[in-house]
Amino acid sequence: MHDSTTQNLLVFAGLLFSVGLVGFLTRRSLILMFLSLEMMLAGVSVNLIAFSKHYGNYQGQVLAIMVLSIAACEAAIALALVVSLYRRKATLDVKEWGDLSETIVPKEVETVGSMETEAPSFPTLTPAGLDPLADPVPSEFKAELGAVPVIIDKKVEASSNV
């Protein structure tokens, strides 16, 4: 029969590792993905310390300290990277950075049921001065109030009045 405390701790370490793995696979925010990576490292540390206690020496603890310091380095670098990435695209979504992926894979359409806010569509009117049949409405034209600057040519108005 095994030393059951060591065994329980190893199972617990595996559990922490699996939780971190699931978090890394499902989460989409860069920071939360990084935190799940840290959780996997915590599981590895628990594993090392359990074996350190089991074998009765300091090797596992020394290795755990090394893991801890490398994790601290990783945190610093990852934070700097996240900040500089955020400065470029103003989002933490990891899918925004999938530029190297295959181009034939269709882009997943974001459909968030409760969060979805569709832009309201207004009926468009042909701007004054354009023939609606001959001249299609320019695509960048927006039928909002003040979208098209109205230039009142006073000279033309004056001449037409006369």
Binding site: L9, M39, V83
Partner: protein, 267 residues
């Protein structure tokens, strides 16, 4: 169901004499239930409180099933309490849609893990983990989360990437780890001296298999004090310590170089 039957027994003798640590298929039950709890909670966070409560019940059931596999000393109970707290924090971290709540779940998980390490007489590492993870990392990342957060939830926080596939992968990983750890002969039962070279250890040992040390040598070797760890760290592993310091320095320089705003002439 063997473990459940044993749990139903009230005889303390039988309770204490349970065979722990051998792999059985019933160990899959709490793992499966835990995965189901994760899926129910992560669906429930967007659907309603009722689902979340159901998932939490599943999680508690999973933890209760896992109790039947551990021995029942006070030590083991406290250890188990810390482990279940850490697991609960982990599930909260996985399912919370508000990033700040997720970070708090992570902090709960790490602090409970520190309790586990504390009970394994790794006092220094428990303190260092508390300072580095729960102190520095969490606080700094909370700053970044709040810096990047908007008033409403973002779509990328609400929509998880394929949680069912991820739960299946996690289930497979967890089951195989549990199997490998609890299988017979998974790791040596006896304490062995791994601080010396093999020939040296064999020469000073009198046991038949050559590696198992007599009990009095091991009890004198058992790590208990942080001073012993420090001595080991600064004598046996001095080069590793120096290298770790160098890596920290390089990482500091790199982080400063990456995070500073590019100047106008660089553009």
């Amino acid at each position: 169901m063997n473990s459940l039957l044993i749990l139903a027994q009230t005889d303390p003798q039988l309770w204490a004499s349970r065979v722990t640590g051998t792999w059985s298929l019933t160990m899959l039950l709490p793992i499966l239930l835990g995965a189901a709890a994760y899926l129910i909670i992560q669906e429930g966070v967007t659907r309603g409180l009722r689902w979340v409560l159901l998932g939490v019940l599943c999680l508690i059931g999973s933890i209760g099933l896992a109790v039947t596999f551990i021995p029942t000393s006070l030590d083991a109970w406290i250890l188990f309490l810390f482990c279940s707290l850490a697991t609960g924090g982990g599930v909260a971290f996985l399912t919370a849609r508000e990033p700040v709540y997720a970070a708090l779940g992570f902090a709960t998980s790490v602090l409970s893990t520190c309790g586990v390490l504390f009970m394994q007489s790794a006092l220094f590492i428990a303190a260092a983990t508390m300072i580095v993870y729960a102190g520095a990392t969490i606080i700094i990342f909370l700053f970044v989360l709040m810096f990047a957060q908007q008033s409403e939830l973002r779509a990328y926080d609400v929509r998880l990437t394929n949680p069912y596939l991820a739960a299946a992968i996690g289930l497979i990983v967890m089951s195989s780890i549990a199997y490998c750890v609890t299988a017979d002969g998974a790791f040596p039962n006896t304490k062995r001296d791994t601080t010396r070279s093999l020939s040296e250890a064999m020469s000073m040992s009198s046991s038949p298999d050559g590696l198992t040390l007599p009990a009095e040598v091991l009890t004198s070797n058992t790590p208990q004090a942080t001073s012993g760890l420090g001595r080991s760290l600064y004598t046996d592993y001095l080069i590793a310590v120096e290298l770790a310091g160098t890596v920290l320095l390089v990482a500091t320089i790199g982080a400063i170089a990456l995070a500073t705003k590019p100047t106008a002439e660089a553009n």
